[in-house]
Amino acid sequence: MNRLTTLFIGFFATFLTAWLGLVIIPYFQFGQLEPQVDPDTGDQYPAFRTGLAERGKQVYQANGCIYCHTQQIRPADLEEGHNRGWGARRTVPRDYLFDRPPQLGTMRTGPDLTNVGVRLNDAAWHHEHLYAPQSKSPWSTMSPFRHLYRVVKIQGEPSPKALKLAGDFAPPEGYEVVPTPEAEALVAYLLSLNRNYALPEAPLE
C-alpha cells in the first residue's frame, strides 16, 4: 500500500459506504416527510410554529438549553419518560418535521421538554422560572437566565409584563423585572412544545 492512488481509493471507498448509509439514504428515505392532516378539522400535526415561537427556538439554541434538556421521548422499554409525565408516546421523525435543526439533546441534567408546553402551560411561570429557577424549584441547579430580563425603575404604572417575584428573588423597592423580546419569544417557543398528538405510526398510548 505504497501508492497514493491505491491508498486514496481505499480511503474513499470505506468512507463512502458510511456517507451513503448514514447521510444520503436517510436524506432520501425520511428527509421529505409531510405533516399529518386531520381530514375532518383540517388541523395539521405537527403544527407549524408561529413567527414568535420560531424566533424563540433561536433563543433556545443561542442559550444552549440543549446541553441540559432533551426533546425526545424514547420507547417505553428504554426509558420512563411516559411514567414521568413527559410524554404520552415515543417521538418519531415526523414530530421534528419543522425543527431545522432539531433540539433532541443528549443530556438530562434537567427534565425533558418535548411537551413542556402542555405540562406547564403558563407564560408567567416560565418567565419567573427563567429569571430565577430556584424561586420555582428550590432544588434546581439550573442557571438563571437574568440576561434575558431587565431590572428597570418603575415609571408611573408598573408594567403589566413585570414578573411577580417574591422574597430574595424580588428586585429592589421601586424597581421591576420585565422580559426582553428574546425572553418573550423563548417562552412562546416553550409553550408551543406539544407533541402529544396521535400519528398513524405513533398512536397515543
Binding site: T14, F15, A18, Y27, G64, T70, E79, P102, T141, P144
Partner: protein, 509 residues
C-alpha cells in the same frame, strides 16, 4: 501485492532519516508552522480550560458568575456612549452556562485538539516522507486563518449566535474560515506525500493522509446539510451525530494513533510489532468507525435500521481496537521500564491504553440494555473525556514533549515540571472519568425508576458535579504548568547542554 508483501518485513520499521544534518534540515523546514500550531494549541487549551471550569462550577453552583462584578459594570457604564448601552447585558449573556459549555467544547476540540493534531501531523509527515516542508509560510498562513476561525466562532457562541447543533455550534461564517485553512493543509499534505523519498510508507502516514482526506468531506457534508440546506429534523439529527462521532473517530483518533504508532517504536528503538496488524487495524477502523454515529440516537426519532446499523458497527469496533492494542503492547513488551525515563513515552502509552479502554467502553455503551441506563447521563460525558482527553490529549502532550526541543534547539527546562504535568493530568482525568462514570450510573438508574422524583435526582447529582470540578482543578494545574514550560521553550529558555530531559537519569545498561 503478494510479491511486495512477502518481501516486506513482518515488523514495520520506522522510515527515518539517518543523516543528522539532513534530519535537522527537515525539522528546520517545519519549525515556523509547527510551532505556530503548537503555540495556538496551548493558548486555546488554557482558554478551553477556563470555560470548562466556569461551566463545571455552574453545574453545582448555578449562582456562580451569573453577572459580571457590579463594580466592573458600573465602570463600563461610565463610558457610555463610547461603550454601547447594552454592553453589560451582553457580557452577562456570554457568561451563561448554555454558552460557556459549547465555548468549552469548541475551543478544546477546534482550538486545542485539532490545532495540536495539525502541528503533530505536519511534523510527522515531514519526518516520514523524509522531505523538507515546501513553502512553510503557506502552512503558517493556514495556522493563522485557522485561529481566526476558532476565534470568530467562539466569540459568536458567547454573543448568542450559536447554531444549537452539538459539535457544530460555530455559525457558517466561522466554519467557512476553518474550512479554508483545513483545505490548505490537506492540499499541502498530499503535495508532501507526492514528493516523498522512495521507500516504505509507514502506518502513521496512512492515518494522517486518511484523516486529512476524511475530515473536510465530513465537515462540509455536515455543515451544508444542517446549516445551509436545513434538512428536516431527523435527518439533521443523524447527520449531526454521524459528524460528531466521526470528528472523534475519523479525525482525532487517526491523528492520535498516527502519533502513537510513531513515538512508541521511536522512543524504545524497536520496529512496530506487526505490519499486518497495523494494516488490518487501519482498514477495519476506516470501515467500521464511520458507521458509528447512530448510536448517539438509540431510541431516538429515527428508523430502526439506522440505529441498528450503528450498533453493529460499534460492536465491530472491537476488532480494530483490539488489533491496535495488541500491536502496541507487543511493541512495548520488554520495554516497559523505558516509561520510567521518557516523558514522551509515558504520555503516549497512557494515551494508547486509554484508547483501548475508551473504545471498548464505547462499544458497551452502544448495547441497548446498557444504553437505557447510561444515555442522557454524565456517563457519556465521562466517556467523551476518556476519549478526547485521556487518549487524545495525553498523546498530543507526549508528542509535543518530543517535537518541541527539536524545533527550538534546546531541551525542556525541568523534569519536575513535566512530572507535575503528567501526574496532575493523569490523576485528574482518572478521577474525573471515575466520578462521571459512577455519577452517571447513579443518575441513569434513578431515572429508570419513575417512583424517584426528578428533584431527588438533581439533588443527588450535586456532589458528583462538585467533585468533577475538583478533578478539573487538577487538570488546570497540569495545563498551567505545561503552558509555562512551553513558553520557556518558545523563548529559548530551555537547557542548552546535556541530553533530553528525562524523568530520571538513564542508567547505563
Amino acid at each position: 501485492m503478494s510479491n511486495a508483501a512477502t518481501s516486506k518485513p513482518v515488523s514495520a520499521p520506522l522510515p527515518d532519516i539517518h543523516d543528522a544534518a539532513d534530519r535537522a534540515a527537515v525539522d528546520a523546514s517545519c519549525r515556523l508552522p509547527v510551532l505556530s500550531f503548537f503555540a495556538s494549541a496551548v493558548f486555546w487549551l488554557i482558554v478551553g480550560t477556563v470555560f470548562a471550569l466556569l461551566a463545571s462550577i455552574k453545574m453545582h453552583n448555578p449562582q456562580f458568575a451569573v453577572e459580571i462584578p457590579a463594580s466592573l459594570a458600573h465602570w463600563l457604564n461610565q463610558f457610555y456612549p463610547l461603550v454601547p448601552a447594552n454592553t453589560v447585558e451582553t457580557l452577562n449573556g456570554a457568561l451563561t452556562f448554555g454558552r460557556v459549555r459549547p465555548a468549552h467544547l469548541n475551543t478544546v476540540a477546534y482550538g486545542w485538539a485539532s490545532t495540536a493534531a495539525l502541528g503533530v501531523g505536519i511534523w510527522l509527515m515531514a519526518r516520514l516522507c523524509r522531505v523538507q516542508l515546501r513553502y512553510p509560510r503557506f502552512v503558517t498562513a493556514a495556522a493563522v486563518i485557522w485561529n481566526i476561525g476558532v476565534f470568530v466562532g467562539t466569540a459568536a457562541i458567547l454573543l448568542g449566535e450559536s447554531t444549537g447543533v452539538e459539535w457544530l455550534e460555530f455559525p457558517a461564517y466561522a466554519t467557512f474560515i476553518l474550512f479554508i485553512a483545513y483545505a490548505l493543509i490537506s492540499i499541502w499534505a498530499v503535495d508532501m506525500f507526492v514528493h516523498r523519498r522512495p521507500g516504505h510508507v509507514y502506518v502513521s502516514q496512512w492515518y494522517i493522509m486518511a484523516a486529512l482526506f476524511w475530515f473536510p468531506w465530513l465537515y462540509a457534508t455536515a455543515n451544508i446539510l444542517i446549516h445551509h440546506e436545513s434538512v428536516q429534523g431527523s435527518v439533521s439529527a443523524i447527520v449531526n451525530w454521524w459528524y460528531g462521532h466521526n470528528a472523534l473517530g475519523l479525525w482525532f483518533t487517526p491523528m492520535g494513533l498516527a502519533a502513537a504508532y510513531y513515538f512508541i517504536p521511536k522512543v524504545i528503538g524497536r520496529p512496530v510489532h506487526s505490519y499486518y496488524l497495523s494494516a488490518f487495524g487501519f482498514w477495519s477502523l476506516a470501515l467500521f468507525y464511520s458507521w458509528n454515529g447512530g448510536h448517539h440516537l438509540i431510541g431516538g426519532p429515527l428508523p430502526a435500521w439506522v440505529i441498528t446499523a450503528s450498533i453493529v458497527a460499534s460492536v465491530m469496533m472491537v476488532i480494530p481496537v483490539v488489533v491496535t492494542a495488541i500491536n502496541h503492547h507487543m511493541t512495548m513488551k520488554g520495554n516497559f521500564h523505558v516509561l520510567e525515563y521518557s516523558p514522551t513515552l509515558r504520555f503516549v502509552v497512557f494515551g494508547a491504553m486509554s484508547y483501548t479502554l475508551a473504545s471498548l467502553q464505547g462499544t458497551t455503551m452502544a448495547i441497548r440494555s446498557l444504553n437505557t441506563v447510561t444515555h442522557f447521563t454524565d456517563y457519556t460525558i465521562g466517556h467523551s473525556h476518556l476519549g478526547l482527553y485521556a487518549f487524545f490529549t495525553m498523546i498530543m502532550f507526549g508528542s509535543m514533549y518530543y517535537i518541541v526541543p527539536r524545533l527550538v534547539g534546546c531541551e525542556w527546562r525541568s523534569a519536575v515540571l513535566i512530572k507535575i504535568h503528567f501526574w496532575s493530568c493523569a490523576y485528574g482525568i482518572i478521577f474525573m472519568v471515575l466520578i462521571l462514570t459512577v455519577g452517571g450510573l447513579v443518575q441513569g438508574l434513578m431515572m429508570r425508576d419513575a417512583a424517584i422524583g426528578f428533584d431527588k435526582i438533581v439533588e443527588n447529582m450535586v456532589v458528583y458535579k462538585y467533585f468533577r470540578s475538583v478533578s478539573g482543578v487538577l487538570l488546570t494545574v497540569g495545563h498551567v504548568v505545561f503552558a509555562f514550560h512551553f513558553s520557556l521553550m518558545l523563548l529559548r529558555l530551555g537547557r542548552t547542554e546535556g541530553g533530553p530531559t528525562l524523568f530520571r537519569p538513564l542508567e547505563t545498561t
